[in-house]
């Protein structure tokens, strides 16, 4: 074990983890925003809304993330019209291609999680809301939204961790995030054991922090499910 190399590589890897967070954070935010309409469409009784979202979710959940990323990064260059378009500077940049692929991917998984959560809100509550004359928007904003989000939280935390692990794939299209830097240092020093162990530790620490964070959020928003302490202790 070359501990000196591990210590020396740490600053580089910490800097690289900023890029990992950036890839993860941007994809998470945009993916979640896309997932809400996807979930609503998937639950809709209108076939023109349901079928496209079903197809989208089926494709992105059924194919490997690596294929999706290669389709965006290498695949799009096959079309002359795309190479000539205004978007080309964005679509040939591995940074944006990785973010596009991660976003499309996580939107599909998150959409499916939210769909389940929305369905789990008891039907009686929705009927009650309609019977007091709530509009569909208000119903979603006050009844389905807040409860659905809490129900979706454990599943969504899992998805965020999968996304974190997925960002490692960006290294295959030359991005220098944690895995990319790790592979670069290995190519220079040929010490794979030390560096993969170090990278694994960084990912594990991030995963543990994310899990703790999610537990805190869940605890905060489920006060109504906890027994009231003052009542019990008195």
């Amino acid at each position: 074990m070359d501990f000196e190399l591990i210590l020396k590589s740490m600053p580089d890897l910490f800097r690289a983890s900023l890029l990992t967070f950036e890839l993860m954070g941007l994809s998470m935010v945009v993916g979640l925003t896309m997932a809400i309409p996807l979930a609503l469409m998937r639950n809709s009784r209108n076939r023109w809304l349901m079928v496209p979202s079903f197809g989208y979710i089926f494709f992105f959940r059924g194919t490997p993330l690596l294929v999706q990323m290669f389709l965006v990064y290498y695949g799009l260059s096959q079309f002359a019209s795309i190479r000539a378009s205004l978007l080309w500077p964005v679509l040939r940049d591995p940074y944006w291609c990785a973010i596009i692929a991660f976003t499309l991917n996580t939107a599909a998984y998150t959409g499916e999680i939210l769909r389940g959560a929305i369905k789990a809100v008891p039907h009686g509550q929705i009927e009650a809301a309609y019977s007091v004359g709530m509009s569909r928007f208000l119903l979603f904003w006050r009844i389905i939204g807040p409860q659905g989000l809490i129900l979706a939280l454990p599943g969504y935390t899992n998805e965020v961790i999968l996304l974190l692990k997925g960002t490692a794939l960006a290294s295959t299209i030359t991005m220098m995030e944690i895995t990319g830097i790790t592979r670069k240092i290995i190519a220079e020093t040929y010490k794979p054991l030390e560096l993969f162990l170090l990278a694994a530790c960084i990912y594990i620490v991030i995963t543990i922090v994310l899990t703790r964070l999610s537990n805190l959020v869940e605890y905060h928003f489920t006060a109504h499910r906890r027994p009231q302490e003052s009542v019990i202790s008195s």
């Binding site: 690596l66 290669f70 290498y74 961790i161 290294s171 295959t172 054991l193 993969f196 990912y203």
Partner: protein
Amino acid sequence: MQESQKMINLYGFGAFIAAGTWMTIKLVLSILLFGLIVGLVGAGAKLSRFRTLQALAETFTTIVRGIPELILILGIYFGGTVLLNNLLAPLGYGGYLEINPFVAGVVALGTAYGAYATDVFRVSILSVPKGQIEAARAVGMQSFPIFRRILLPQLWRVALPALGNLFLVSQKDSALISVIGLGEIMRASSFAVRYTQKPFTFYLVAAFIYLGLATVTTVTILLVERRSYRGIRRA
């Protein structure tokens, strides 16, 4: 040749991609087998009386779940090769050994599968009423017959849906093994892309092969699940 004809035999790479698909199938079945064994051993450790075994299994699942599959594959392939040669050098072995990418991939993704399957098995073993195991002990059954004849037929009913989902995840993750040079679907597609300059066509073909495999798996799981409910009254 007409452009449409070229599309049908995939510019002459059809058989090549088919060979890659066969490789992926062999790969994922090996991952499943390896993963199920890891999962059963893990669940046994988590449910054992020994605190050390419990703690070991707990650490194992937490750690493996937190590591990206790509790091596991690269780490076992490159790290394993270095480790193997470091171990062999003092024994007087002069040559250089390299781990087979198939084996490295199966060990890496099988371990990942096993880490998730550990908790699936743990929960489903707990779902079998304890009295049955006590009764089996009382009539003098040994541990292995208890597992095979009492636990297994009942726990697989509970475990199947989750194990099936995990298998679908492994199928998709198997694409990552292309990174260490194994000629499965992704590697074969990338090879075809290099010769034809048609990346979108070939990666889309790869995507549809994975979708096809996932569909076959999903249907198989449903059939096996139905079989597992033979003789069970359902509400």
